[in-house]
């Protein structure tokens, strides 16, 4: 293999983003809009004020946590489509604690966090067991359970947990104040939530790189059969991977309820679970790259509603940008592999 020039490496690295921008430009031109203005709107919509920055930070929290979790399942070679459901499970467990328990914030908040992690882990355990004991592909197990989690949320909001003056699509009653994650000043940014998310990705990065567990996961991911022969209890590792991922996703769901909405709403996961799949793919399964990709996704997420307000464009252009980048990334990666095979 000849060493490829650094210039080519860099070019291949940024190519997906460039290609996406070209494609988005073409779409905008067809729609009769000024592409530069549109991109400018997204950027200013995400970064122009401290308030917007706080929103970006808070959008990064669930993405970081879900992506950290998915790094674990991807390392074990698993397609955990069920993250979305794990987020919801965490939110449900948290809501249960927040609405049920009467305790001061110092007690209640840690409990909500633990409940969220436990709820997500339980959901992960379910997927893991279906996969290892029931021999059902984890994609189907996860997808099925996602729908179950949605139905469960609606049932709870419109049933046992409905507000005294009648259920609405806006969810449960707000949590008691003791279950509100503290925010910085009057902003929407919650420091504990941000710290938890950072801790999540850092710990996972570290464990995957240096722990015996991370190595075992990698072995299972590369070749389950051979890993078993080498003495790794593959079923246990797989279930554990789902549970760890569920724990982190559940924490994301928990923080969505206690730090963002302060209640349970019907679409509590906000699609972050699915978006995290894209994040992890775009990061090339490397934990170091995840924060940057998350920033990119969160900025588009927060900035693109501007398109609708200011330019009368559909804000789903943001989604096109996100998905397009991933698509081009995968294409470029395929190209890269072809090049490096020689």
């Amino acid at each position: 293999m000849k060493a490829r020039s650094p210039a080519l490496q860099v070019l291949l690295g940024v190519a997906p983003i460039l290609l996406t921008l070209v494609a988005a430009t073409a779409i905008l031109l067809v729609a009769g809009a000024n592409p530069l203005a549109a991109f400018g709107q997204i950027i200013s919509g995400a970064f122009e004020s401290p308030r917007k920055l706080a929103d970006v930070a808070m959008a990064m929290v669930p993405l970081l946590l879900c992506a950290a979790g998915m790094l674990v399942t991807f390392a074990a070679g698993l397609w955990n489509i069920g993250v979305e459901g794990q987020v919801v499970a965490g939110a449900l467990a948290t809501t249960w604690v927040a609405l049920r328990l009467n305790a001061p914030a110092a007690v209640l908040l840690p409990l909500t966090v633990l409940a969220g992690m436990a709820g997500g882990a339980l959901w992960g355990l379910l997927i893991g067991l279906i996969r290892t004991k029931g021999k059902v592909n984890e994609i189907f197990a996860g997808l099925g359970l996602n729908y179950v989690s949605m139905a469960l949320t609606n049932y709870l909001i419109f049933g046992p947990w409905k507000p005294p003056d009648g259920a609405t699509m806006s969810g449960t009653d707000p949590f008691p104040r003791a279950a509100w994650m503290p925010v910085i000043g009057t902003s929407r940014a919650s420091l504990p939530a941000i710290l938890l998310a950072v801790a999540g990705i850092v710990v996972i990065w570290w464990l995957l790189r240096d722990s015996q567990w991370g190595l075992r996961l990698k072995a299972v991911g590369q070749n389950e059969n051979a890993a078993y022969r080498l003495g790794i209890r593959t079923s246990r590792e797989i279930v554990l991977a789902f549970m760890v991922c569920g724990m982190l996703a559940g924490l994301a769901g928990s923080l969505q309820t206690t730090a963002v909405y302060r209640r349970l709403i019907p679409s509590i996961s906000g699609g972050y679970g699915y978006m995290a799949q894209l994040v992890v793919l775009l990061s090339g399964l490397r934990a170091q790259a995840v924060p940057l990709v998350v920033l990119f996704f969160a900025a588009i997420q927060v900035g693109s509603p501007r398109l609708e307000l200011r330019m009368y464009l559909d804000s789903s252009l943001g989604g096109v940008l996100q998905a397009g980048t991933v698509l081009f990334f995968l294409l470029v990666r395929g190209l890269r592999q072809r090049l490096s095979k020689e």
């Binding site: 293999m1 015996q212 190595l215």
Partner: protein, 487 residues
């Protein structure tokens, strides 16, 4: 077709797998390609058949320079390669596999292909059932399938990379007859092997590679000593087998039965003592593999009892066998033995590091270096195992075995190893007897069975013969036993 290599170069990182190779191979001949493990044989053949590209130099076919971007292009130019591990699609039928790569698979063509398959099989005396799935065939049969598939695609050059490891004696003779026929028809056959006897029997000319370079070209008749000298730069005496005292009974099998869809192995009773070596002979797929897997705890037994050092292990899970210091080295190295994608040092860390929370990378690195030195692996601690040459994978696998084993189960332990490495590996394996390790191994190499076993059992159709003492049996007698006849 005449093949010329001119100044071919190929590097993998810092390894010069092929170093300015220049060679001419005439058509209508069977050419032997020899060399120790890691000499660059597979690399050269992969360049010829379009699996990888050379860094420099050229390949000429009948005088015209060619470069192939893919195996398909090489086949279109008439060059086909049979890999050591069959590359068919196990889930598809023999006929489907046969038609792969033949372009459009229309219904009418199917009939024509079926006829062609039957005709080619008949020509070479192969018994291939078009409707069986490829996965149910033995290694030898899959090889036959691959060969007729390439011939149907019209190849003029057939490359065989260590084709005789893992196939039975009759299959080998059938294959050799087929290759001779092909050479008579004017095809060029390139035969990569470690077995000098086979090269002597089959090839009209042999080329020897060493560290990526051509170090010799000789015409038949060959002298083994001369070939060995060229391959290793020295000659080896076939060392005698030091005797070792036998200890207590380690493994006791009482009337074991194992069943699969294809085969039932029944009424197996055997006692193995510490330090004893038992060779399992027989045609591929006669039940040896099932018995090995049962002894390793990987396969459930239908009935009977397995006792290890006095403990009933019959229904214990696999990891209990590991705890009881039973190790199994499977034939499918990269599918069952090691993890493609992981480095040597990661394997070391997995094998040795249990019980720790964190990987001690410095220890893993040092362990990998020790393994590499001790087992003379051509590679680095950070080399991914799939990048090692076949023989070096085998060395690594053996190097990863834990110390102080009670029972060591080996499938084709020297598969893919050159003469010198095999000799050396067996020395290491037999040294474990001093530790009280009992060894069970399968092999298709009769010399290996006779040379290294204390006792030999012969499998045929799922039945196991009574053990015979290796000292009392010759290769000829063993050959008869395997064929199901009595000497």
């Amino acid at each position: 077709m005449r093949i010329e290599f001119r100044n071919l170069d190929k590097c993998y990182g810092s390894v010069r797998a092929n170093d300015k190779i220049s060679l001419t191979l005439q058509s209508g001949t069977i050419q032997g390609l020899l060399g120790e493990n890691g000499a660059g044989k597979t690399t050269l053949m992969k360049i010829l058949s379009g699996y990888t590209r050379a860094d420099g130099g050229e390949v000429l076919l009948d005088g015209t320079a060619v470069t192939f971007a893919s195996p398909a292009q090489a086949i279109a130019h008439g060059i086909g390669m049979l890999h050591q591990d069959p590359m068919d699609v196990p889930a598809l039928s023999v006929l489907d596999n046969f038609m792969l790569g033949a372009g459009r698979g229309l219904a009418q063509q199917r009939k024509r292909s079926a006829a062609q398959l039957t005709e080619l099989s008949r020509q070479f005396g192969f018994a291939l059932d078009p409707d069986a799935t490829a996965g149910s065939l033995s290694v030898g049969e899959r090889q036959q399938l691959e060969l007729v598939r390439l011939l149907a695609l019209g190849v003029q050059v057939v490359v065989l990379d260590e084709p005789t490891t893992g196939i039975s004696e009759p299959q080998k003779l059938l294959l050799f007859a087929a290759l001779r026929k092909l050479a008579e028809q004017g095809l060029t056959v390139i035969f990569v092997s470690h077995k000098l006897a086979e090269v002597e029997a089959l090839c009209s000319r042999a080329v020897v590679l060493r560290t990526g370079r051509v170090v010799g070209e000789v015409q038949a008749p060959f002298s083994s000593d001369q070939l060995v000298m060229m391959m290793f730069g020295q000659c080896f005496s076939r060392g005698g087998r030091p005797a070792a005292p036998l200890g207590d009974e380690v493994l006791q099998l009482d009337d074991i039965a194992v069943h699969t869809h294809q085969l039932s192995v029944e009424h197996i009773s055997l006692g193995v003592r510490a330090g004893e070596v038992i060779g399992l002979a027989g045609l591929e797929g006669s039940g040896q593999r099932l018995l090995m897997q049962a002894c390793a705890g990987i396969r459930r037994v239908g009935s009977g009892r397995i006792t290890l050092a006095g403990q009933d292990m019959t229904h214990e899970p696999y990891h209990r066998y590991l705890q009881e210091r039973v190790a199994f080295v499977p034939a499918a190295r990269l599918e069952e033995g090691m993890i493609a994608g992981l480095q040597i040092r990661e394997h070391v860390a997995l094998a040795k590091g249990n019980g720790h929370l964190f990987v001690r990378w410095d220890e893993a690195e040092a362990g990998a270096r020790r393994l590499i030195d001790e087992f003379r692996v051509v590679g680095q601690p950070t080399t991914r195992v799939q990048e090692l040459s076949g023989g070096n994978q085998q060395r690594t696998l053996l190097g990863l075995l834990p110390e102080h084993l009670r029972l060591l189960l080996l499938e084709h332990p020297t598969r893919g190893l050159d003469v010198e490495s095999s000799r050396w590996i067996w020395q290491r394996l037999l040294a474990r007897r001093a530790d009280g390790t009992a060894i069970l191994f399968t092999s298709t190499d009769l010399d290996e069975l006779v040379d290294h076993s204390d006792r030999i059992v012969v499998f045929s159709g799922g039945a196991m013969s009574r053990p015979v003492s290796a000292a009392d049996v010759t290769c000829e007698q063993l050959g008869y036993l395997i064929g199901g006849r009595h000497a």
